[in-house]
């Protein structure tokens, strides 16, 4: 065992875990150390976040019935972006997760936005 310890850091985690009380949120956090700095919010916080998302959705729908002039589309896109990043950051835990996961996902997202904005520009979409 002594020989393994320096080369496999996970062995230390394995030793620690049996001492951790089962069912405690802190242990869940420790368990995911290897995933990065993994912080788990409480259930109440998740409910608050869901309420905020529902309110933003209601505001989006309300905005579609009100004449907001040229501010309408930027406002809708702004609210859409807030909802997107709130779900990705908190519900998907990306805010608290390892940077590698963030890079993987946001690279795909950036690539998609970049490629398709260029494609739409090519088709003169934004001029119509």
């Amino acid at each position: 065992m002594d020989v393994d310890a320096p080369t496999t850091p996970e062995v230390e985690v394995e030793h620690d875990d049996p001492d951790a009380p089962a069912g405690v949120a802190a242990s869940a956090g420790d368990d995911h150390d290897d995933h990065g700095d993994h912080e788990h919010l409480s259930d109440n916080k998740y409910i608050v976040i869901a309420v905020i998302l529902a309110v933003i959705t209601a505001a989006e729908v309300a905005a579609s019935y009100i004449d907001l002039g040229p501010a309408f589309i930027p406002l809708l896109l702004f609210m859409m972006a807030i909802k997107f990043f709130v779900v990705v950051s908190y519900f998907m835990h990306l805010k608290f997760d390892n940077n590698v996961f963030k890079r993987l996902f946001y690279t795909g997202l950036f690539l998609a936005v970049f490629v398709y904005v260029v494609a739409l520009l090519t088709f003169r979409f934004f001029e119509s």
Binding site: E14, D16, D31, E60, V61, V87, M92
Partner: protein, 236 residues
């Protein structure tokens, strides 16, 4: 002197034997952990397949998959945006869209994200009962959303919007249909995970398995957030 040398040799051999035994035990522990579902703290419980980065391979693969899914849906959304004005005058978004109904569907899917995150939270607490409960609630909400989409498609079809009716129709059905298929696959994943937890059939880390299903489900929700705004709320 020779006794001392013998002692050293014996100790060395003894150490070597212990090392070999420890390795054997580690392998055994790994196999046992992979099957017992209980503790999810060690690396063996994550399937034991970790990259040199020290991250879970499963999670890495899921995020890579979701990153690639951005490109898939990006293509479908762009195609719809490009063709959304290519429809006949009497069968277009202005005549077809039922914003209150679609808003209710969106709300249902949004709430399913909450129930999903509560399932993940319960799984992290090793609370199997609540994990199963929230997984079922999430699947039911997902089922409601898909039912709403089937109702919507049926209504549109009856009003004359066939799949090949126009470029608008084709791109709309393809985009929302692909999303609906993703939700349906998510429901199957939720029910399968629930069944596997009930029968204690998950090999490896139960919490991570629920979290992976959760990541997929939240992604499907995130895609709908974009579709709802770009397709339904922003006028053509």
């Amino acid at each position: 002197m020779s006794d001392t040398k013998d002692d050293v040799v014996k100790e060395t051999i003894q150490d070597a034997i212990e090392i070999v035994k420890d390795h054997a035990n580690d392998d055994h522990d790994h196999d046992v952990h992979a099957g017992d579902n209980g503790d999810h703290g060690d690396h063996g419980d994550h399937g034991g397949h970790h990259t040199s980065l020290g991250l879970s391979n499963t999670k890495l693969a899921m995020w890579l998959f979701l990153g690639s899914e951005c490109l898939l849906f990006g293509g479908l959304i762009s195609t719809y945006m490009l063709y959304r004005n290519r429809h006949s005058e009497d069968v277009g978004p202005d005549q077809l869209w039922d914003i209150p109904f679609t808003s209710a569907s969106s709300f249902v899917l949004l709430m399913s994200s909450l129930t999903m995150v509560l399932a993940v939270s319960a799984a992290n607490r090793k609370d199997d009962r609540n994990t199963k409960l929230w997984l079922v609630v999430t699947a039911v909400l997902g089922g409601l959303f898909v039912s709403g989409q089937v109702y919507e498609f049926t209504t549109f079809y009856r009003e004359g919007l066939g799949y090949t009716e126009s470029l608008f129709a084709s791109s709309f059905y393809t985009l929302t249909g692909f999303h609906g298929v993703h939700v349906s696959v998510g429901i199957i994943m939720l029910m399968a995970t629930m069944g596997m937890i009930a029968k204690n059939k998950i090999s490896g880390d139960k919490a991570e398995t629920v979290e992976m299903v959760g990541l997929y489900w939240h992604f499907v929700d995130v895609v709908w957030i974009i579709i709802f705004t770009l397709v339904y709320l922003i006028p053509a």
